[in-house]
Amino acid sequence: MSKPTSPLQSLLPALIVIVILALVPFFGPSNRMLSLAISAGVNIVALYGLSVLFGQTGILSMGHAALVGVGAYVAAILARDAGVGFWVAIPLGGIMAAVAAAVIGIPSLRVSGHHFVIMTFAFGQLLTIVLTNGGDYTGAATGLDLQFPVMVLGNRADDLVPYYFIVVGFVALSAIASWAIINSSYGRTLRAIRENEKLAASLGINVGRHKIGAFVVSGVFAGVSGVLLAYFFRHISPSQFASFPSIYLALMVMIGGPRLLLGPIAGGILVSFLPEVLNLDPVESRILYGVCLIAVILLLPNGLIAGILQGWQALFKSLSGSGDRKAAANSNRPSGASQ
């Protein structure tokens, strides 16, 4: 039997990876690579929210992109109507998305299992419709532009390289926040709900309230991601937050592994860069995404990374002979920061 790794040890790999990512600009990547990386980073922030919801609490939401959209539209509208810029939009976007999450979550959570997933999907679509029909206020189907610069300490920071650093910073923040949640009593309670709701209730856990809370937390991450997205693409429209983006996010979280601390980073990077590596056009890459989602869900429900780790450990076990009980005890549990 192995002793579980200490909480701090589980944060280390993620921090190392983030530091490495932060050094990428010094290797002279192309603009396209950097753009892809920023885009991946923006998604990763949202993914940390989804992994609190799905990985820790076991609630699958197929409307996460809609919450990202709330953050993005808040940013754009605030800039346009209130002259409010990036740094104020970030918390406000997070809060508004959290409120939207509560609005969706409270009714949705009265409904069981698969009905719930359908509800989240439906709400996502509903939001898209509302945005499309919002006339001039929301820019309707064409969407909104965002003109504001991003300023850091008096200097413009929205060129690729500075913005990349900002995004990496938020990824780091998300990872740390996620880690803090996972290792707290709150995280344990969420896991209890994921593992056995009835039992959790019998121990005094208010399951309903915690589920809504998890939803709201996921909303905060999504909202921040939306603001980052809006200031990067400089133009947002409802289609960016409709069904495919939600499916895309679900895919990323599943491929990376919903319960691993590195999961969102792995999933975000893999899924964003795969078409580049394979030189696929947008249509081909979407077909690939769809197929991967199906494959991962059927074959590797713990995520691709966890699946690889398990495969690795199984291989190790068979190579080192049958006597290794330690490997046997670990063979069902990916090592590291998995919870």
Binding site: M1, S2, K3, P4, S185, R188, T189, R191, A192, R194, E195, N196, K198, L199, A200, A201, S202, L203, G204, I205, N206, V207, A329, N332, R333
Partner: protein, 240 residues
């Protein structure tokens, strides 16, 4: 003696079927009460109504004078009633230690001295310390039952309801269970056990209640109840 749980006129209809047809029952402080009855007699329904899974069609449940009839499941625990389930329940993907830790983190605040306030003390009490880092999902059945007891104890209950705690256990495991449960009253925990196993009931309970078709047909000292001709008829149409 003090009645801490008082059930009056409890009725539960499911459509046309009365799973509970007006049951009056009370649990005295410090006792170990047994509830038995053939399948379908309403034992588990009774359990489910008290623990907040169902709302009764009629009747009330009071706990230390307070009406808890309509409380939700998580509030029952907060009120001081702990319970274990018929199917041994745990958090399968989490290590045993974490299972217990979660339960401890949600224990109700209680000022009375309580011997099992830490996860380790609970694991030691039920004898699962050696398995602390194993995932609960791979535990053998007997150990799972013990884990369930540990979890219920962690919440610092004043009353524990055990629904068929010995189902699936062999004689040795049952004896271990009895040994544990017998210690509860000394620590201020009253017990109510629902089971089929008459030997278990004889070992554990001083008082026995028998249900049949949702009604109480006997209530008294264990041996007397087991010799009651009405009870014998209901069970096997003959001697036990």
């Amino acid at each position: 003696m003090n009645a801490i749980l008082d059930i009056k006129g409890l009725r539960k209809q499911f459509g046309g079927v009365a799973a509970l047809a007006g049951v009056d029952l009370s649990i005295e402080e410090g006792e170990i009460l047994g509830i038995v009855g053939p399948n379908g007699s309403g034992k588990t329904t009774l359990f489910n109504v008290v623990t907040g899974v169902y709302k009764p069609t009629e009747g009330s449940v009071s706990w230390r004078g307070r009406d808890i009839t309509n409380l939700a499941a998580h509030e029952i625990s907060g009120a001081g009633i702990g319970y274990t389930f018929q199917q041994a329940m745990a958090f399968p993907g989490l290590p045993v230690m974490e299972n217990v830790r979660i339960a401890c983190e949600h224990a109700r605040k209680s000022s009375r001295p309580y011997p099992w306030t830490t996860p380790q003390s609970l694991l030691d009490f039920v004898g699962l310390s050696a398995l602390a880092d194993e995932r609960a999902g791979i535990l053998p059945f007997g150990s799972l039952r013990l884990l369930g007891i540990a979890l219920a104890l962690a919440t610092r209950p004043s009353l524990i309801l055990l629904d068929e705690p010995a189902a699936g256990l062999n004689d040795r495991e049952t004896a271990t269970l009895v040994g544990l449960v017998k210690q509860f009253p000394e620590h201020g925990i009253s017990v109510c056990v629902i089971d089929h196993d008459m030997k278990l009931m004889q070992m554990l309970c001083k008082r026995l209640v028998v249900l049949d078709f949702g009604s109480k047909i006997a209530d008294g000292p264990t041996q007397a109840v087991l010799n009651d001709p009405k009870v014998l008829e209901v069970y096997l149409g003959g001697a036990l």
